[in-house]
Amino acid sequence: MSTVLSIRDLVVQFSTPDGVVPAVNEFSLELVPGECVGIVGESGAGKSQSFLAVMGLLAGNASVSGSARLGEAELLGNDREALNAVRGSKLAMIFQDPMTSLTPHLRVVDQIGESLIRHRGFSKAQARQRALELLRLVQVTDAERRLDQYPHELSGGMRQRVMIAIALACDPEVLIADEPTTALDVTIQAQILALLAQLKRERGMSMVLVTHDLGVVAGIADRVVVMYGGRIVERGAVKDILLAPQHPYTRALLASMPRIDEVGNAPLQAIGGQPPNPRSLPSGCAFHPRCALAADRCANERPALNVAADRAVACHFPIRGDAHD
């Protein structure tokens, strides 16, 4: 099948006064048209940095290698002009905090219209008309009045809808959503996720959803990539990853989450320790100090990402349970 976004061997490092800090290592992903891939991990796992790199939005002290192709266009190492031709038109991104990612002194209509005027040559009047359609598409109430409002006049959920409207303005091939609902109430989160699911279903949009919440990916993702310590530790269909995880980290993460549908107050199966600091990653498998199944080999030898059929796992001792239905 064709791929719309193809990331190969992405490496992101930051040079700091204390030396080079690796953020992402050997990250690869093939996104096929119309699918949603969830990228899951905790703080410092490298999930956001991977896609900031693809968007050319990394901090100044970052260095990037590898390849990220959108169709025929190479995104990495490209000059700013070439990147700007793609960003906002074929590739769009929404962020966790809709307040800080909107421009505070510009009205909603100008923020949505910006990319239409820039990339599509719309007039101001055309852009306004399209902005109104987009606000209605993302189910902003009272859309006409919202056009002339400023971000501070909107609620958090409304701001995120405006962010999505901006991202959709030029009908992008790929939408990257970086923790789009983390700052929102669960009720508003459910509304935004339902909206994203609808956009995917009705417009066939390809989507990358970066999140720390496995419950969020369960509702919308087709495939899941689990990251830990800057690397992919497991990848596969959402059903396989959530119902039959093979990596001990994925399994532990699932077991540590309290579930709304679980009766009783049995203690949670917490993962001891804490997510590793990218400055001082453990040797071998980065998860081995927290892993219940770790053996000597895990501390000495980093497991390669083993690709088999349609799933992949990086573990010396993957969990192979009975096949589920």
Partner: protein
Amino acid sequence: MTEPLLRIRSLRVWFPVGTALFGKPAQLRAVDGVDFDLKAGEALGIVGESGCGKSTLARAILRLVPSTAGQIVWMGQSIEAWSTRQVRPLRRDLQIVFQDPLASLDPRMTVGEIVAEPLRVHAPELSRAERRERVADMLRRVGLSPDVINRYPHEFSGGQCQRIGIARAMVLRPKLLVCDEPVSALDVSIQAQIVNLLQDLKRDFGMSILFVSHNLAVVRKLCERVLVLYLGKPMELALTERLYSDPRHPYTRGLLAAVPIPDPAVQPLRLGTALGGELPSPLSPPSGCVFRTRCPMAESECAATAPSFDEVSEAHQVACWRWREK
């Protein structure tokens, strides 16, 4: 034991907002008529969306914000009008853990000083050696090595800072621990550690807990009863298992349906049932039932009169005209 540890009656916390040149400023009704009892050793969850008044309610009970009307009865005494000086001795029994673990610790104090401070203020009779002993003991209880006493908060991760904050709150062995979103800022794997720690401490020390959270899955693990707030008003109060298995208020049902479940067989369908709309402005709450503007079951009666907080069965109260219907 008949007398509850804490009894809240018709509690209101209103904030004046804006300065009207003529006439009265508008009143923001953050908490608007809340009643509940808290028994010794009981954990009560207070849940609702941002702006529902849950944190304000907790802070009013601790007398960190003044209440406008109603009663706060602590161990038989009405404390709502007490002066700061009168309240101070109560702080020994009423402690709080905040959401942001690092911001709630003084960056210039060592961990030892932070955990010892409540003892210096409230238990001055202790000798230095006794104090040190109590601090070391409490640090061990929260899962930290006593060796950390000479280090500073910035040297610790978020989860460890939250353990320090819990040690500071627990070192006086309070009768009530108020937790204001204590795990919301933490990584998923660390959240479970802190939830388990609070469970252990509650079992070992028997304190009561007021657990303010928007995370209904965590509340289910930790609390015996749950109070659901909306726009400062109680919507439903029930034993935890009852609330989660047989919620009677449409708002409670909406909240529960919004929590994602990590199972791809059920979660996509739940997305379609999301509660619509957003919290209305607390400056101009809807007439009648405040939830009616988002309620899938609302009818004309709901706009006319606010439902009372009725007992629908033992220990289960609901403020809804239509609670009998599913």
